[in-house]
């Protein structure tokens, strides 16, 4: 397996950053589904439009854990606007690449941050869709295959 992932991925898998829960989170987002074997949950603490703290919990493969971890480091201390611009590509690049079959994990990490931000707006009575964009249904139906 060592040959499958970059050293950066293995580092974030072995020692994930910002792992855990935030009991007083201002926003929580969860994406993924059990059929595909990856579920990510992001907790955000937001103060004055800045993400002051972030934690994650992920059920999934090595790449799912590493992309979650990397995504948290890329948004921590940044503004909501910056976080909204986070792309899966940026996560992949920061990890020195992912095997093609695992790129979907980086998409999930991006979606998890966006799902949390959507929750932040929703809690404030703001429709998140014009700001965050349309998010994939977190729990899609059984019949669908798992996108790579």
């Amino acid at each position: 397996m060592a040959g499958m992932y970059s050293d950066k991925v293995m580092d974030h898998f072995a020692n994930p950053r910002n792992v855990g829960q935030l009991p007083d989170a201002d926003a929580v987002g969860e994406v993924g589904n059990p059929k595909c074997g990856d579920i990510m949950r992001m907790y955000l603490k937001i103060d004055g439009g800045v993400i002051t703290d972030v934690k994650f919990q992920t059920f999934g493969c090595g790449a799912a854990i590493a992309t979650s971890s990397m995504a948290t480091t890329l948004v921590k201390g940044r503004t909501i606007d910056d976080a909204l611009k986070l792309t899966n590509k940026a996560v992949v690049e920061a990890l020195d690449g992912l095997p093609p079959a695992k790129v979907h994990c980086s998409v999930l990490a991006e979606q998890a941050i966006k799902a949390a931000l959507a929750d932040y707006y929703r809690r404030r009575g703001v429709d998140p869709e014009p700001i965050v964009g349309k998010l994939e249904e977190p729990h899609h139906d059984h019949g669908e295959g798992c996108a790579l």
Binding site: M1, A2, M10, F13, A14, P16, V19, G20, Q21, E30, N33, P34, K35, C36, G37, D38, I39, M40, R41, Q57, T58, F59, G60, C61, G62, A64, I65, P99, P100, A101, H104, E137, H139, H140, D141, H142, G145, C146, L148
Partner: protein, 402 residues
């Protein structure tokens, strides 16, 4: 890194030293073609025929009933597609198999479906067994073949192939068994089983990779799949893998000679791991029945964890194992075997297969448990499928379910 602990013997096994020695002798020898008519050709032919007789003896077969192939997968494909072809000539276009076969069987069946054959897939019981009465009920006048594996490659459960073969024989339907995981691991006798066709693979019992064999009972007119030269009685063309075939025979004889001892040893290691993990780590389940399973197979699901996480953590500690799920790059779906048992998807994703071989030690089994006891709580603390406060796995409800 300390010494590697190899617990993936169901995937493949290292070659026994005697196998390597025998193959090296042959490869370093004159290397004649068994089809050639001069001394070194006859010599090569003799090596192949001796190996055939040795393998036949272990399986209780006649040497004329053993056909060498390039893999277990080839043997499976030949048996299934050959039987379908023979059946179609008599207007029989229906096949029966189980839903938790190896892909060598399942994908061969699917290929036949695309060509207009009908296939019935029987579901196993939650314990991991195909019921002979389900085979009986699925038989039709146009059934050409029943193919049920002897031992499941993921969960190790041993199928009632003898009873299934009896049902088939009574109806005049050919019966095939994929015995790739069973041969060399448990006693396998073709007459005791009563099957017409049986596939095996040498690298599963400390033989070389690239050598398989198909047992084809006398009187079963299985059409050839590979046309060409006259090898294997014109039924499987291609110059024989002489050294590999000889190596396979050495490996099978070695496995058969120490079978009981080997089975007891592997069972002791497996029992230790299963008992210690089930009692020491909360919410772990053993997949497949505790009884009637391969002595070296432990397939365990760790609720709240995903298999690759465990795999990578083990690999970092020098332990080689396998996820229960076929981690293939085309699909992220959980293992079809575990889904066939009725496991929830998230539990299916959290499954590991540990398969022990004769070379493994109790010390290695203990080390595996030490590492699992260390990994599980640490990784569960990171998982959103583990309820941290309650210290239990979260039950996942799909949309629309409650």
């Amino acid at each position: 890194m300390s010494k590697l602990i190899y617990l993936d013997n169901a995937a493949t096994t290292p070659c026994a030293p005697q196998v390597v020695q025998r193959m090296a002798e042959i490869l370093a020898g004159p290397g004649g073609n068994p089809s050639s008519h001069y001394s070194i050709g006859y010599e090569a032919k003799q090596i192949v025929e001796d190996a055939r007789a040795q393998i036949a003896a272990v399986l209780g077969a006649n040497p004329a009933e053993i056909y060498f192939t390039g893999s277990g997968t080839e043997a499976d494909n030949w048996a299934i597609k050959g039987a379908a072809l023979a059946g179609a000539r008599r207007g029989k276009k229906h096949l029966i198999t189980s839903a938790f076969e190896h892909h060598a069987v399942l994908h061969a069946m699917q290929a036949l479906q695309r060509q207009g054959f009908e296939v019935t897939y029987l579901n196993p019981t939650p314990e991991g067994f195909i019921r002979p009465e389900d085979v009986q009920a699925a038989l039709r006048p146009d059934t050409a073949l029943v193919s049920v594996m002897l031992a499941n490659n993921e969960i190790g459960t041993i199928q009632p192939v003898r009873e299934i073969a009896q049902i088939c024989r009574a109806q005049g339907v050919w019966c095939h068994t994929d015995a790739v995981q069973a041969v060399g691991a448990i006693p396998v006798d073709v007459n005791q089983l009563g099957v017409d066709l049986l596939s095996l693979s040498a690298h599963k019992f400390n033989g070389p990779k690239g050598v398989g064999a198909l047992y084809c009972r006398k009187g079963i007119a299985l059409p050839a799949l590979l046309d060409g030269g006259g090898q294997e009685k014109r039924r499987r063309a291609g110059t024989e893998n002489v050294a590999g075939i000889a190596g396979a025979a050495v490996a099978l004889q070695l496995a058969a000679a120490s079978l009981e001892e080997k089975m007891a040893h592997q069972a002791a290691l497996c029992d230790y791991v299963i008992d210690r993990v089930l009692s020491g780590i909360p919410q772990v389940r053993l997949n497949g029945s505790r009884h009637n399973r391969l002595p070296g197979n432990a397939n365990l699901s760790f609720a709240g964890l995903e298999g690759e996480t465990i795999l990578l953590d083990l690999d970092m500690q020098g332990i080689c194992a396998s996820t229960g799920s076929a981690c293939n790059s085309d699909s992220l779906d959980p293992s079809h075997v575990l889904m066939a048992l009725g496991l929830p998807e998230e539990i299916g994703h959290g499954s590991m297969r540990f398969s022990f071989g004769p070379q493994n030690t109790m010390e290695e089994a203990k080390q595996l448990c030490d590492v699992l006891e260390q990994i599980s709580p640490r990784r569960r603390a990171m998982s959103c499928m583990w309820l941290q406060e309650e210290n239990t796995a979260r039950v996942y409800h799909l949309k629309g379910e409650h």
